[in-house]
């Protein structure tokens, strides 16, 4: 009697999609998502509040130096302050660093690694789940803020191209930060701490100094794609504005693509080769 041949192991893409399918639900309905919902709901609530205050004061409350703030300008400011400087890097850190680190911490990585799939596909599938999860939570929030704020002494049509650019750049930002912190998560032991130091320490400081240091940040390239004027809402952002030099659109896209590709490739290779020691 001849033995039945084993079915061929799934390829890299099929394995990644299988891991994606498994991880998306876990990621979306985790406690971390409650935190994410709170982060992205805040701008929507603030937008509602702005509309209410504006309606009650007849537009007189939203004035800066005697000039009424128009919706598109407020929308641009919200994109900078809430999404670009906070939501995107913070979600990148929290989700990106947890892609592999959580499995290690929960001691469940063994179950994934004993499957007949390439180890790198585990990271790729989880990264896809991260992208789907964050994009489908962050972008609707931006769209709601746009619908609420842009018509305020402005027009939806006039700000439409900015909205499209904002959605694209936020997705690019989530991708770049996610890839970077996926690498951090698969390499270091305390990835969350390192990630937080990177976004709130290194990036902020590097952008505030003249010179080439800012080129070693993600924010430098991402901020060059923003179609809105940079707000000077704090002393730090005022200094960052003074020393700001903007790389060209093509150069920014190129370096973001490099950061994304290199970080993901190195992270996948790291997962393929590294021996994860589970603490007893």
């Amino acid at each position: 009697m001849s033995e039945r041949p084993l079915p061929a192991a799934p390829g890299y893409l099929a394995s990644s999609l299988r891991v994606f399918d498994l991880s998306i639900g876990e990621m979306l309905w985790s406690r971390r998502t409650i935190f994410m919902v709170l982060i992205v709901a805040a701008p929507v609530l603030i937008a509602l509040l702005i509309r209410a205050i504006d309606a009650l004061s007849g537009g007189r409350a939203m004035q800066v130096d005697g000039i009424r703030m128009a919706g598109p300008a407020i929308f641009g400011m919200m994109i900078w302050i809430f999404y670009l400087r906070f939501t995107v890097p913070v979600l990148g850190v929290f989700y990106g660093t947890s892609l592999i680190a959580d499995e290690v911490e929960d001691k469940t990585i063994t179950y994934l690694f004993t499957r007949p799939i390439p180890r790198g596909a585990v990271l790729a599938g989880k990264y896809l789940a991260y992208m789907a999860c964050t994009v489908f939570v962050v972008l609707p929030s931006v769209v709601l803020v746009y619908l609420l704020i842009a018509p305020l002494r402005g027009s939806l049509g006039g700000s439409f191209l900015d909205l499209v650019k904002d959605l694209l750049l936020l997705a690019i930002g989530l991708g770049a930060y996610g890839a970077l912190f996926a690498l951090v998560g698969s390499t270091f032991k305390r990835p969350l701490l390192i990630g937080l130091i990177f976004i709130f320490g290194w990036e902020q400081a590097a952008l505030a100094f003249p010179g080439y240091l800012k080129k070693f940040t993600v924010a430098y390239y991402l901020q060059a794609l923003v179609p809105h004027a940079m707000p000077s809402n704090s002393a730090l952002s005022l200094i960052q504005g003074i020393f700001r030099d903007t790389p060209s659109f093509g150069m920014s896209l190129f370096w973001l693509a490099v950061i994304w590709g290199v970080c993901l490739a190195v992270a996948a290779r790291m997962v393929e080769r590294k021996e994860y020691v589970l603490e007893q």
Partner: protein
């Protein structure tokens, strides 16, 4: 993937698609009007920088279709439309049909060059952008992108007198044509055009300038041409001698509005700094009107025109309204014809 996850993703995607759909529809229809704040004036005011001291509007379509214009054309049959035809052949723009309305503005102090005062004209209509760009390129136009808008700059080179050397040539009268939106072009100096694009993108336009928007909102509906602004900007622009400038009553702002159809009706309104200045201005205008009426007794067309002038206003407001009937224009046409025959 669970059903719950699928529903969530479908809901999120629906919000994104609906938002983009509404935005796209608004983009192609010229934007939905503001929901809370009442919009005053044309939507193109969004391209006029907040510090512009003078802004004007003309509904070219209505003026071109007005019976007054038709009458003008009939009363001056010798006036050929060759220039207009040539303009149409070169640019593809039929002035009578293709331009709906224009918004013009004087550049603010930040945009204005020292020796090159510049303005901005934004025209809404139907334009063959390819032909316009080709025409500009043929005249040495340089094409560039500025914040997603296409700009074509044509520099007219003029030789300075007495300096035949090429090195002494310098750029004069550089004009930029910008394709701002489908069916919307901007014309002006490069600085003015860039400032207009910035104003629209940052929403720091004249619509956020309460003082100017109050003047715009005072324009009665039905006027198809108007201009409002700060008087000091005009006085500075015309470089009046100090002696004359000091004698002009302290006028703060002005508004001119007119309706062109069967005839020409309109109002010229000025706001002075105080009531005394307004009284002085009223007396000056009253004096000029009396003098004009005395002089015009022998000329029926001037007399008819002066008869229509009415001075009014109280407090710091001085208003001069006028209504020139179509018959006056007929008389002018007749005089023009008689002059040609002689």
């Amino acid at each position: 993937m669970t059903k719950q996850t699928r529903y969530f993703m479908a809901g999120s995607a629906a919000v994104i698609v609906a938002g983009l759909g509404v935005g796209l529809a608004a983009y192609y229809t010229g934007g939905f009007p503001s929901l809370s704040a009442s919009r005053t004036g044309p939507a193109e005011l969004a391209y006029v920088p907040a510090d512009s001291p003078v802004v004007a509007y003309a509904n070219v379509r209505e003026v071109m279709n007005s019976s007054l214009r038709q009458q003008f054309k009939q009363s001056m049959p010798d006036r050929t439309d060759e220039g207009q035809r040539e303009f149409q052949q070169r640019t593809g723009i039929d002035i009578e049909r293709d331009i709906d309305y224009v918004v013009a503005a004087m550049a603010g102090p930040e945009t204005q060059g020292e020796h090159d005062p510049n303005g901005l004209v934004v025209a809404r209509g139907r334009f063959n952008t390819g032909l316009l760009e080709t025409l500009a390129r043929d005249h040495g136009g340089v094409v560039e992108e500025y914040k997603g808008k296409r700009l074509v700059t044509v520099s007219e080179r003029r030789q300075d007198s007495g300096t035949p050397d090429d090195t002494d040539r310098r750029h004069h009268g550089a004009i930029t044509l910008a394709f701002l939106e489908p069916g919307l072009v901007g014309i002006g100096s490069q600085a003015a055009i860039k400032s207009a694009i910035d104003a629209q993108l940052t929403a720091h336009s004249i619509t956020s300038n309460d003082a100017m928007m109050e003047l715009v909102s005072d324009i009665e509906s039905g006027n198809n041409a108007w201009a409002v602004g700060r008087f000091d900007a005009i006085a500075n622009q015309t470089h009046l001698p100090d002696e004359i400038r000091s004698r002009i009553p302290a006028v703060k702002t002005f508004a001119v509005m007119s309706h062109i159809d069967g005839g020409l009706t309109g109002t010229l309104r000025a706001e002075t700094r105080d009531e005394q200045s307004a009284e002085n201005l009223r007396q000056v205008v009253q004096g000029f009107l009396a003098l004009g009426r005395m002089q015009a007794q022998s000329d029926p067309k001037v007399a008819a025109m002066l008869q229509s002038l009415q001075l009014s206003g109280s407090g710091t407001t001085v208003a001069l309204s006028f209504a020139v009937p179509a018959e006056v224009f007929s008389l002018m046409g007749q005089a023009h014809r008689n002059g040609n025959q002689r």
